[in-house]
């Protein structure tokens, strides 16, 4: 652990330099490894045969040859070995970028990765070897793309997506069509009027141009994700651009196949156009249906997995991959299938599977998508070096310019139309970001790569132009979009967590608007949404969700989560320390309750008695919630799963801890209804030892030791009780069986232990010391902390327990 801490301090620069050197060395070694085998026979079959031969030989001449103690047989393992090397290279690169200070703040990761790819490709070429066809279309579409798309689909923020579906579809379908025909058509025109170079450009026909246009005009989800995740743009814009990049897949697939087909034939009739439109509908709707089918299947399967928890995540992955493959099998849109599959299955699967399975799914998806993305960008760089290139200034320049122009015109024109129908209009700034965020990426390259050299003699030139457009958008637009967002003061994503009041009002507003629509007699969005929700609750959830969770209203679920989160924060904060303003600990129940009996004794006021029934209920709430409350309390980011609480430096922590203890003492003295527990604490080491032996988990450092007391009034239990007869609930969040390990115990007996736990809690909270310096700062810190402490989820709070459709 301490070795990690140095990396973010300025003192670590020298070290990171040496680390960089080390990385370079590793890269070289990797190259060596990956290049070597290429000259030799590469088929695994052959190597296998050789292997067999080798085994035969010693048998025949058993006496003559000594037993080979060490034997080099690289071919035996070379394919998986190379794959591992590439993955290792990608991961190390990713790791390396974050070791270099300030670099990742300026340049998007995608740019860096492409650069690395270029370097690697260059080195391979320098070594005089043939560059492996890394960005092979089959590899790309069957292995690299699905994890990214599934990750995106599974964690798709459904509510904003559905609310803006019309706009997204408009951009994705009409926008992409417009781009394809505008770029293709004008490119053809430019090629025709170019007299200086008749030998190459004049030979291009219209259909290949349109094909090229359709390839180069689609916004790429991988590139968009990579860039937009770093700029933290507001939800609306993010979902507009990202949604477009996902849904335009159907258009691209159809256009691609259409033009590829007709380029061979050479003519297009009206019938072909009609067939194209039908084909588009089939491809998109078919893809969605295939995805939804597999999604429901997953949900249904997960209903019965309560006895085989370990393979729960596998169902999610395999069914999704099956959905993708099934869709691709019929040339339907695989991307749309995956998106639909992930989005449909998620609410039900999450209600069914265990919390650990959910964590597994989340981490695996993140890991896979992250590695895939890294590999894609590196491969893009390598493939660029590899060529074959046919550079044509006119063609390339015109392509880049046309791409930009068509994007701008398309967005402005479409927004003009869309704004007539939208309630929340898109402003000029929004339009600019949508237009500027139209990045192209590896999908375009792979599609270009797929082209048949015989049918399209211009393939090399196309590929070069595609790569140029990709580089231009990823490098120029990707690097400048962040400063531009700052400059234009585009609204950023709200990091604030959702409060229970907001949740209540979200629900309230939904019902209110539905009611008003019904009174008006307009059957609008809210009306149908309400109908769908009710249908979902009544039938679908019953079929797909096991147990009583299917009946739980959203508000209750949210409340349970809140309740739980507060309890965690309470304990993490060390009990007596002032909590951030969002957590109602500075105000207690007696502050809001109308004073009915003024005769209540002070002690009782501070510690309201828990009725037996209530206690039972709390226990139930806790037990059921432990499984799911810690799920996702953080907004979605594909790359950072958890902020390391130890990163801030161990020494700092110790100092802060010291401070905190002092502060705590002060507060204890000040608070009139607080007293330090009378029992003499065990020696801390003893307690720690006891804790360690009792709890065997290493799930996450930040969540290791939490004692917890909870009741409807968090305040009352946030302090150390004065009375020794108050029952409290002790929850050990750390234990893997935590949902069942809820114990009711005498607080008094455990007072000493709790004290120690608090110390632990303090250690996990590097930020707490700062809180008293500045309130705003403290709030921010707390937010960060909350994310550290809670199991950080890839999705924003609001998607949690969302009904099937918003």
């Amino acid at each position: 652990m301490p070795s990690r801490t140095g990396s973010h301090r300025p003192a670590g620069i020298g070290k990171s330099l040496s680390e960089r050197g080390l990385l370079l060395l590793i890269v070289l070694v990797l190259l060596e490894g990956s290049v070597l085998p290429l000259g030799a026979a590469s088929s695994p079959d052959i190597s296998h045969k050789e292997d067999l031969d080798k085994h035969k030989v010693p048998e025949e001449n058993y006496t003559k040859k000594a037993f080979p103690v060490l034997d080099l047989d690289y071919h035996h393992v070379h394919t998986p070995f190379e794959v591992s090397l590439w993955v290792l290279l990608a991961s190390l690169m990713k790791l390396g970028f974050h070791l270099i200070p300030r670099l990742s703040g300026i340049v998007p990761e995608s740019c860096l990765l492409i650069t690395v790819g270029l370097l690697v490709g260059g080195l391979i070429k320098l070594a005089g070897e043939k560059v492996p066809p890394v960005l092979d279309s089959k590899l790309f579409f069957l292995c690299l793309l699905p994890p990214i798309i599934l990750d995106a689909g599974y964690f798709l923020p459904i509510r904003p997506f559905m609310e803006n579906l019309g706009t997204i579809l408009m951009f994705a379908v009409v926008g992409t069509l417009w781009n394809a025909f505008f770029v293709g058509g004008l490119l053809y025109a430019v090629c025709q009027i170019q007299p200086a170079n008749p030998s190459i450009l004049h030979n291009i026909e219209l259909l290949p141009c349109l094909l090229f246009g359709s390839i180069v005009s689609a916004v790429d989800p991988v590139a968009v994700l990579a860039v937009f995740e770093e700029i933290h743009i507001n939800e609306l814009l993010h979902i507009l651009v990202f949604g477009e990049s996902l849904l335009n897949d159907a258009v691209t697939v159809v256009l691609y196949h259409l033009f590829e087909e007709y380029s061979g034939a050479g003519t297009v009739s009206v019938l072909d156009c009609v067939l194209g439109v039908i084909s588009f509908l089939v491809v998109s709707i078919g893809g969605v249906l295939v995805g939804a089918f597999y999604g429901i299947l997953t949900a249904f399967t997960s209903r019965f997995t309560s006895h085989t928890r370990v393979i729960e995540p596998l169902f999610v992955f395999v069914y999704s991959y099956m959905a993708y493959l099934s869709a691709e099998m019929f040339h339907l849109s695989g991307i749309m299938a995956l998106i639909a599959c992930g989005a449909v299955m998620r609410p039900y699967v999450e209600a069914n599977i265990s919390h650990k399975s959910h964590t597994t799914i989340k981490y695996f998806l993140k890991m896979w998508s992250s590695v895939s993305e890294t590999l894609i960008f590196i491969f893009l760089g390598v493939a660029t070096v590899d060529g074959p290139h046919a550079w044509d200034w006119t063609f390339v320049t015109v392509t880049v310019i046309l791409c930009l122009v068509s994007r701008v015109i398309g967005v402005i024109g479409l927004t003009y139309v869309i704004n007539k129908f939208r309630i929340v209009k898109l402003t000029t700034k929004d339009q600019f970001i949508v237009a500027y965020g139209g990045l192209r990426g590896a999908i375009a390259f792979s599609l270009g790569f797929l082209l048949d050299e015989n049918l399209f003699p211009m393939r090399k030139m196309f590929l070069t132009a595609i790569i140029t457009v990709i580089f231009f958008t990823v490098f120029v637009q990707g690097m400048t979009i962040k400063p531009l967002v700052e400059l234009l003061a585009v609204k950023k994503k709200q990091e604030a967590k959702r409060t229970i009041n907001e949740e209540i009002h979200t629900q309230f507003l939904d019902h209110l608007l539905t009611g008003i629509e019904d009174i008006c007699g307009h059957y609008g969005h809210h009306h149908w949404k309400d109908k769908l929700n009710r249908f979902n609750k009544k039938y679908v959830k019953k079929c797909l969700i096991a147990g009583e969770r299917s009946r739980e209203p959203q508000l209750i679920a949210f409340y349970h989560k809140m309740e739980f989160k507060q309890a965690i924060e309470l304990v993490e904060s060390g009990g007596g320390i002032k909590l951030p303003s969002a957590v109602p600990s500075t105000v207690s129940m007696q502050n809001i309750q109308p004073k009915k009996p003024p005769t209540a004794k002070p002690a009782e006021r501070v510690l309201p008695q828990l009725p037996k029934g209530r206690e039972e209920e709390i226990r139930k709430i806790l037990r059921s919630n432990l499984q799911r409350t810690r799920m996702r309390l953080r907004s979605y980011n594909r790359h950072t799963l958890v902020a390391d609480p130890f990163e801030d430096g161990f020494g700092d922590l110790l100092m802060k801890k010291q401070k905190m203890i002092e502060l705590e003492k002060k507060i204890h003295d000040m608070n009139n209804y607080l007293t330090v527990p009378a029992a003499p604490p065990d020696s801390p080491t003893m307690c720690r030892a006891r804790l360690a032996s009792g709890k065997d988990t290493d799930f996450k450092p930040a969540q290791q030791h939490k004692g917890n007391t909870i009741c409807p009034d968090p305040q009352a239990y946030s302090m150390k009780p004065t009375s020794d007869s108050v029952p409290t609930i002790h929850v050990d969040l750390a234990s893997p069986q935590s949902p069942d390990s809820v114990n009711v115990m005498d607080e008094f007996k455990r007072a000493s232990k709790k004290r120690d736990e608090e110390d632990q809690g303090l250690m996990m909270r590097p930020s707490t010391g700062l809180r008293h310096a500045g309130e705003a700062d403290g709030g921010k810190e707390q937010q960060k902390l909350t994310r550290c402490l809670s199991d950080p989820g890839p999705s924003a709070d609001e998607e949690e327990d969302e009904p099937f459709l918003p």
Binding site: I423, H511, G515, L555, S581
Partner: protein
């Protein structure tokens, strides 16, 4: 009960003139005296709507359609009563139905600084209540966005504040949550209560900061309410798409 009057309570909802500036439809200034509803009904779709358009910001077309719906609901009477609302079939499964209906009979929502409850409403009041759900136009300056926001939140605040004393007390808030959960079966009342309590605690801690144990938080004032829902983009959420085409034939 120790009720503290909030001095900010008297903040009036945005005046009609501010509203009318947001109007996209034709607005003519000038003191036209409002005519009787009878004349309006006899001549639907004529400039008699002008006054209403000015007051509410709806376009003539929208007013015409809403008027048709009004007559449909009231069975061609001039005024709507609670029973008419209760008879709307789609509303039956809305958990906050009674609150929605009450909002239509609440003088505070008529943009006239009135108070109290009425027994029946005419078309004008119907439109005025509806106008709270009108989407704001694209080109709005920040100040107007703020006033739109206040106005919309005030509407919700009034729905919660049933006794019209300027604060949402704990009892009132509990009632809101209970209503909200009233249609989901298998729940104890305690759950709704504890949710409301937690929410109230949150409000108190957001708006008051630290409180001594003997202090008492009377309830949510409107200022606190604004602060509470600061991150809640009500101006872009509390909107209904008022159609320009007639759909009354489709409705029951």
């Amino acid at each position: 009960m120790n009720v503290r009057r909030d001095p900010l309570r008297s903040l009036s909802i945005p005046t009609v003139s501010v509203q009318s500036r947001l109007v996209s439809g034709p607005v003519k200034s000038g003191g036209r005296s409002s005519r009787g509803m009878g004349a309006l009904q006899s001549l639907p779709g004529n400039p008699e709507y002008l006054d209403l358009a000015e007051k509410t910001g709806f376009s003539f077309e929208q007013i015409k359609i809403l008027h048709k719906r009004f007559k449909q609901l009231s069975h061609n009477e001039e005024a709507l009563q609670r029973d008419h609302f209760n008879a709307i079939p789609d509303l039956a499964c809305n958990p906050i139905r009674s609150q929605i209906i009450e909002a239509f009979f609440d003088r505070r929502n008529f943009r006239q600084n009135g108070e109290g409850i009425v027994e029946e409403i005419r078309f004008e009041e119907f439109l005025l209540v509806m106008s709270h759900f009108r989407p704001p136009s694209l080109h709005k300056i920040e100040e107007q966005r703020d006033s739109v926001r206040r106005e919309k939140l005030k509407f919700i605040f009034n729905m919660h504040d049933t006794d019209n004393d300027g604060t949402i007390t704990l009892e009132e808030y509990r009632h809101v949550v209970e209503e909200l959960l009233s249609l989901s079966e298998g729940l104890e009342k305690d759950t709704a209560k504890s949710i409301a309590d937690a929410a109230m605690l949150e409000v108190a801690s957001i708006s008051m900061g630290h409180m001594e144990p003997d202090e008492f938080y009377e309830g949510i004032t409107f200022e606190h309410f604004l602060k509470l829902l600061n991150g809640f983009e009500i101006e872009s959420r509390m909107n209904i798409r008022f159609l320009n085409m007639d759909t009354t034939t489709l409705c029951k």
